[in-house]
Structure formats: structure tokens, C-alpha cells
């Protein structure tokens, strides 16, 4: 029986304040690659991993969302509270709690450790970020702290290779019983003060002064906003200017590959499937990989440096004018990458009404899947010239589209919050220390992004391209037909059938066709257009030709109308699915889809009409 128990994996859970490095430690111990960043609230649900200690003991490790207290105030904190107390559905209470503290912020983190200690469960304390604490001039008497707390205390630098070896050694022989209650009737705050006085010495405060000086600029109500605005502006300029050479290289590769396949294979259905379907469809989207990576490079640098929570703090007043708190900033910012994690990150918002509003406006944030659509249309219809000899016009238009989405989101939030009772939610935000981004982490983050993008191209886009190719190639035109073959195909029929709905906003039947598979994911519309034009045109090299084809066949008014559509339309099944899960029903999904499609149609209609009036119609 004892042998059986010995063979069962030890159930341990990582707990601690937000941004103390739990997920970095989890990744270090289990070899996982969960997302880490230098701000609070990155982990919003429990993650599970496995590890083996040096002596061969198996450990099942849970990474729990950060919490400031075991008295939960938000859904993510409730997960931590329930798991620690053994009340989480389907999850037995952990046999060992590993409480992670940031050595740079012991005043706050020790308070949580003492709360966890009061649970009376076996626990280990890990002093993480010891390197950063030393840089700040902090000296921590670890043996004394261990003696005072009455639980094993080990040190770690979770972001460094082998930085958690002491913890691994300790997991070989973990404590089996909980700590004895602390003597006396001292309250937690007094205990923390005593522990700090006894165990921590602070001989120098040089690093803090540098941070304070930086914060004086970055958090300044005027300069801070200007810095934020400049950072965002440069980001969108970079997306266009830096990405052009690698995009040209990928484009040349795709075109060359298409040519090679056409020469190798004889004329026939297989050649048409590969060249007009797969290569035209997937190749057109894959070209946008460099732009997406540059966008994420900026976001990752801002995340790692510790700037993002400061931006949230700066924007609190603007968010408040729309009825939101700065706490909505991180979920909304995550939605610039993808609305799915953004909507999940709303679990850190305590107020249910604020949370729901943030969920409803998150799909308005310009996710990276919109980037291929935007850049395709901008490249086709906006002249590539500089403004004032300094700014790229393409970048300016892209920046304008992002700003339009942000303003729309704020207006929608204001409307949604108008009817309710006004409640005061002061923003309490922990500002992490500034950190130079780690090149390895940046590389890993970009690699993960590239894998995510390419896996979507390899699955969603390739399969849609193949299906669209089939639908646009069959049935074949009847003998003696004079119109283009695609007009007789299923795609042609569907496109012409839907056209009356979208004709008032200036869409062509090809756009109507692209919008249907584009419901799966926004970037699919680009590959769908490429496939439709490749199978429908005499020149089969649509992967390389889509931009000139669009600028020749569409009017400026049509392009602007489609851009306006994509600012609002919820063309993403995954986003709607995650809204259903986070709100627990279809009601909010229906509300979101209805109001966003309504806004999209209205915006496209106005854009189309205004553009026609200004002379942007078909020539």
C-alpha cells in the first residue's frame, strides 16, 4: 500500500501574488511554454504540468492565477481560493502548496504567504527574482525567514536556466505536515513588518531612484500620454516600413513555388487545385507573416519591459469617461493580438457589469487576423508615399483604422454603461519593476506566434482554399457558354444570390463569396478572394497578382466600404464561442453578433455613400 502511495504523483500547486513569476517557474519546472509577461493577470485559469524530481519522484504541478488575498474579489482569484481550499470542482486539494514570493516586493507578498500559511496545509515558500532583489541592493536573511515562518524557504530565479534547482531538490523530500500556528495574537500586517525588520536589509536605494525618475515621465498625465501615443504610432509605421523587404522575399518564394508547380505538373485538375487553390489561397496570406511578427515584437517588448500596466494607469481616466476602469485595459490590449485570450483575461475584472462590457467591446479591438485584410486593401488603393517626408501614408491609414476601432469601442462602452447605476471602481494596480526584455523570451514569443499563424494557414486556410477551389471550379460551364466559367460554378451562383444584400454597401459578388468562409477567421477572406480570382481569371498567378487585380477591378469606394466592414464585423467563430463560454449562454453571443454586424453594415453603407459622393465610385 505504501509503495502504491509512493508511486502516485505528488499534487502540488503554485500560488502567489500576481506577477511574482509563478508561470515562469511553472515553465522552468515542467518544460511548458505558458505565456509569461511582466504584468499582473496573465494566468486566468489553472494550468497543469508534470515534472520528475532528481530522485525520480513524479509531481503533478498546478499553476494557479495570481491572487492578492484568499478572499477572492474576481473570477480568477476565486479559482485560486477554491483550489487551495479543496473546493474546486473535480480537483482534489493539493498535497503541497508552493507559495511564490517576489523577493523585490516582500511587503506585499509576505502578507499573502501568511494567509496561505493559515490554511495549515504543507507548504514551501519560494523567494523568486532574487537576482532583481540583489540589484536593488536588498539583502534577505533566508535562514532567518525560514525559521520565522516555520516552513521551508528556497530561493529561485525562474527565468534563468537551472534557476529552480533548490526547489527541485526540496520536492524530493517535501514537508508532509502543515506548519504550526504562529505564536501570539499578532495581526498579519504587524507580522509582515516584523519579518521585514528582522530578515531584510536595504543598504541602497539607487535602482529605485532610476525607476522613479522614469515613472515621473512615463506616468505624467501629459508627457505620459504623448509617449504612449508616439509608441503606438511608431509601431504601425514599423509594421509597414520594416516588413516590406521580408514580405517581398516571402512573396517571391510563393510566386516561384507556384511557377515551379505549374511547370512540373501537366495541365489538369490537380495542377489547378494546387496552383489556384492551395498556393493562391495560402500563399496570399503567408506573405503577411513578417508584418504580424513585427506587430508582436512591439507588443512583447512592451509586455516584458513592464510598460503595459503603466499604460493602463495612464488610460484609466479615458477609460473612466467611457464607464470602464483601467482594469479593462489589459484584456483589451490582449485583444489586439486575438480576442480569444483577451475575452478570457476579463476574468481579472471584479465588477460583473464592467466585465460584460469589456467582453462585448473586445471584438472591436483590431486583432492580428485583420492585418492581412487591411494591408491588402491599403496596398491596393492607398498610394505608397511619405507624408511630410517622415511618415509612410500606408502606416498612417493603418494607424487611423486602429484608432477608429478604439474610439468605436469607447463609444459602445459608454452607451452600454449609460443605462446602469454609476458605481465607483478605483483602479488598484501593481506597477512591476522595469526590466530589459530578455532576447530569448522575445525569440520564443515570436516563434510561438509564427507557429500559431502558420498552423492556422496550414489548417483553416488551406482547407477553405481547397473547398472554395472545388466550389468555384464545378460545375463546368455548359457548351457554348459566353460568360466566365466561374459564373456557372457553385461559388458564382452563391455570390450572385447573396449580392442583393450587400450591393447597397458597394460589395461585389466576389466579396460576398469571401465573406462566407471569412466567418471562420478574418484572414480567410484574403485567401478566398485570391482563390476566387485565380479560378475566375485567365491569369492563374493570383497569389502574386491579387493586389493589382483588386486595384483594377474595384473602385476606391468599394475598398473603403470593405475596410469599414472589417473594423466592426465579428468575422470569427472562435470569438463568439469564447463569449458563449465566458458568459454561460447564447444570449450575449446573439447580442454581440447582432450589434457588431449592424454596426458593420451601417459603417460600410455610410462609407460607400460618402466615397461615391466624393468621386470614389467606379470610373
Amino acid at each position: 500500500m505504501d509503495a502504491m502511495v509512493e508511486n502516485l504523483p505528488l499534487r502540488a500547486a503554485l500560488v502567489g501574488n500576481p506577477n511574482c513569476g509563478k508561470t515562469a517557474l511553472f515553465n522552468q519546472l515542467t518544460g511548458s511554454r505558458q505565456k509569461v509577461a511582466n504584468y499582473a493577470g496573465v494566468t486566468v485559469e489553472r494550468k497543469e504540468g508534470r515534472l520528475t524530481t532528481p530522485s525520480g519522484r513524479a509531481v503533478r504541478l498546478l499553476d494557479l492565477p495570481g491572487a492578492y488575498s484568499l478572499t477572492a474579489t474576481s473570477p480568477d482569484e476565486a479559482v485560486t481560493r477554491d483550489v487551495c481550499a479543496g473546493r474546486y470542482r473535480g480537483e482534489p486539494a493539493p498535497e503541497l502548496l508552493i507559495c511564490v514570493l517576489s523577493a523585490t516586493n516582500l511587503r506585499l507578498h509576505l502578507r499573502f504567504a501568511l494567509e496561505v500559511r493559515q490554511l495549515g496545509r504543507p507548504m514551501i515558500v519560494v523567494l523568486n527574482m532574487l537576482d532583481a532583489a540583489r540589484k536593488q541592493g536588498l539583502a534577505i536573511d533566508v535562514p532567518r525567514l525560514q525559521q520565522e515562518l516555520g516552513v521551508p524557504v528556497v530561493t529561485a530565479v525562474a527565468i534563468r536556466k537551472n534557476g529552480a534547482s533548490d526547489l527541485l531538490d526540496l520536492l524530493d523530500h517535501p514537508p508532509l505536515v502543515g506548519p504550526a500556528p504562529l505564536p501570539g495574537n499578532e495581526d498579519i500586517h504587524a507580522t509582515v513588518r516584523r519579518l521585514l525588520a528582522d530578515c531584510v536589509t536595504r543598504p541602497s536605494a539607487v535602482a529605485e531612484e532610476v525607476e522613479d525618475r522614469l515613472d515621473r515621465w512615463v506616468l505624467h498625465p501629459v508627457w505620459g500620454l504623448l509617449i504612449l501615443f508616439a509608441l503606438m504610432f511608431v509601431m504601425f509605421q514599423a509594421v509597414f516600413s520594416w516588413a516590406q523587404p521580408p514580405m517581398d522575399a516571402v512573396d517571391a518564394l510563393v510566386t516561384g513555388f507556384g511557377e515551379t508547380v505549374r511547370h512540373i505538373l501537366p495541365d489538369g485538375v490537380l495542377q489547378s487545385l494546387l496552383v489556384d487553390g492551395v498556393i493562391a489561397g495560402a500563399g496570399t496570406v503567408i506573405v503577411y507573416l513578417p508584418q504580424i511578427l513585427i506587430l508582436f515584437l512591439w507588443i512583447l517588448v512592451l509586455e516584458e519591459s513592464g510598460y503595459l500596466p503603466r499604460a493602463a494607469f495612464l488610460l484609466d481616466r479615458i477609460m473612466a469617461s467611457a464607464g470602464l476602469s483601467g482594469r479593462s485595459f489589459i484584456p483589451l490590449l490582449s485583444s489586439f493580438a486575438c480576442a480569444v485570450p483577451g475575452i478570457m483575461a476579463t476574468r481579472t475584472i471584479q465588477n460583473p457589469r464592467d466585465r460584460l462590457t469589456t467582453i462585448l467591446i473586445a471584438p472591436l479591438m483590431t486583432c492580428s487576423a485583420r492585418l492581412p485584410v487591411y494591408t491588402l486593401l491599403i496596398a491596393a488603393f492607398i498610394p505608397d508615399r511619405s507624408v511630410g517626408g517622415l511618415f509612410n501614408l500606408h502606416g498612417l491609414v493603418l494607424f487611423g483604422l486602429y484608432i477608429a476601432a478604439i474610439l468605436s469601442a469607447l463609444i459602445v462602452a459608454w452607451v452600454l454603461k449609460r443605462g446602469g447605476k454609476a458605481t465607483e471602481h478605483p483602479l488598484l494596480l501593481e506597477l512591476p519593476a522595469y526590466r530589459l526584455p530578455n532576447l530569448r523570451d522575445l525569440g520564443l514569443g515570436l516563434w510561438q506566434r509564427a507557429v500559431i499563424f502558420l498552423s492556422r494557414v496550414g489548417t483553416i486556410i488551406v482547407t477553405v482554399s481547397v473547398l472554395l477551389w472545388a466550389l468555384s471550379s464545378f460545375p463546368a460551364p455548359p457548351t457554348g457558354a459566353t460568360a466566365p466559367a466561374i459564373d456557372y460554378s457553385l461559388v458564382g451562383m452563391i455570390g450572385h444570390w447573396i449580392l442583393p444584400v450587400f450591393a447597397p454597401i458597394g460589395f461585389t459578388w466576389q466579396i460576398c463569396v469571401a465573406l462566407i468562409p471569412g466567418l471562420a477567421a478574418r484572414e480567410v477572406a484574403v485567401s478566398a478572394l485570391a482563390t476566387v480570382y485565380a479560378t475566375g481569371g485567365s491569369d492563374t498567378d493570383a497569389a502574386a497578382q491579387l493586389t493589382p487585380i483588386l486595384s483594377a477591378q474595384w473602385s476606391l469606394a468599394t475598398a473603403l466600404s470593405l475596410l469599414a466592414w472589417y473594423v466592426f464585423a465579428p468575422q470569427c467563430f472562435s470569438t463568439l464561442a469564447v463569449i458563449r463560454r465566458e458568459t454561460g449562454g447564447w444570449k450575449m453571443v446573439t447580442v454581440t453578433a447582432t450589434y457588431l454586424f449592424g454596426l458593420a453594415y451601417a459603417a460600410s453603407f455610410v462609407t460607400w455613400r460618402v466615397a461615391l459622393a466624393l468621386g470614389g465610385g467606379p470610373s
Binding site: 485538375v269 485570450p341 507557429v451 500559431i452 492556422r456 482547407t463 481547397v466 473547398l467 472562435s574
Partner: protein, 77 residues
């Protein structure tokens, strides 16, 4: 003839992929049918296990971009 066969297989595979994403219960039924057929014809165990794995696979609700989507929680990156 071979070309037409390859193209048909590719199109059917892509259609099945999308049915699996949009209506997982339909594909589960298809896999259950395939599993029954394999049992009857005494197909090799690895093949039967692979099909059984398909029947029990749950669909996630993430964007399909990362491995986390297979989990109950939906991922996520």
C-alpha cells in the same frame, strides 16, 4: 483518372475537417461508424485505437491556434 481521385480525396478530407469543426457531433458519429466497421473486420489494433481516440477527442473552444485549445479551458495563447 488518378488526378481526379487525388483531388476528390483532398476535397472530401477538407470537407470532413470543417464538419468536424462546425458540427463535432456529426464527425463523432462518423468515427463511431468507422470504429464499428473496423471491429467487425478485425482491423489491426493500432488502427482501431486511432479511431477510438478520434471518438473521445473533445472539441475546444479556442481559436485553434495553439495546443491549449484541446483542453476544457479552451487554451490559450
Amino acid at each position: 483518372m488518378i488526378e481526379a481521385f487525388i483531388v476528390s480525396v483532398a476535397v472530401v478530407a477538407c470537407a470532413l475537417y470543417w464538419i468536424g469543426r462546425l458540427a463535432p457531433s456529426v464527425t463523432r458519429t462518423l468515427w463511431q461508424g468507422a470504429g464499428s466497421v473496423l471491429e467487425v473486420v478485425h482491423a489491426p489494433a493500432p488502427l482501431r485505437h486511432a479511431v477510438a481516440g478520434r471518438i473521445t477527442t473533445r472539441s475546444g473552444s479556442g481559436c485553434g491556434g495553439c495546443k491549449g485549445c484541446g483542453k476544457d479551458g479552451g487554451g490559450c495563447h
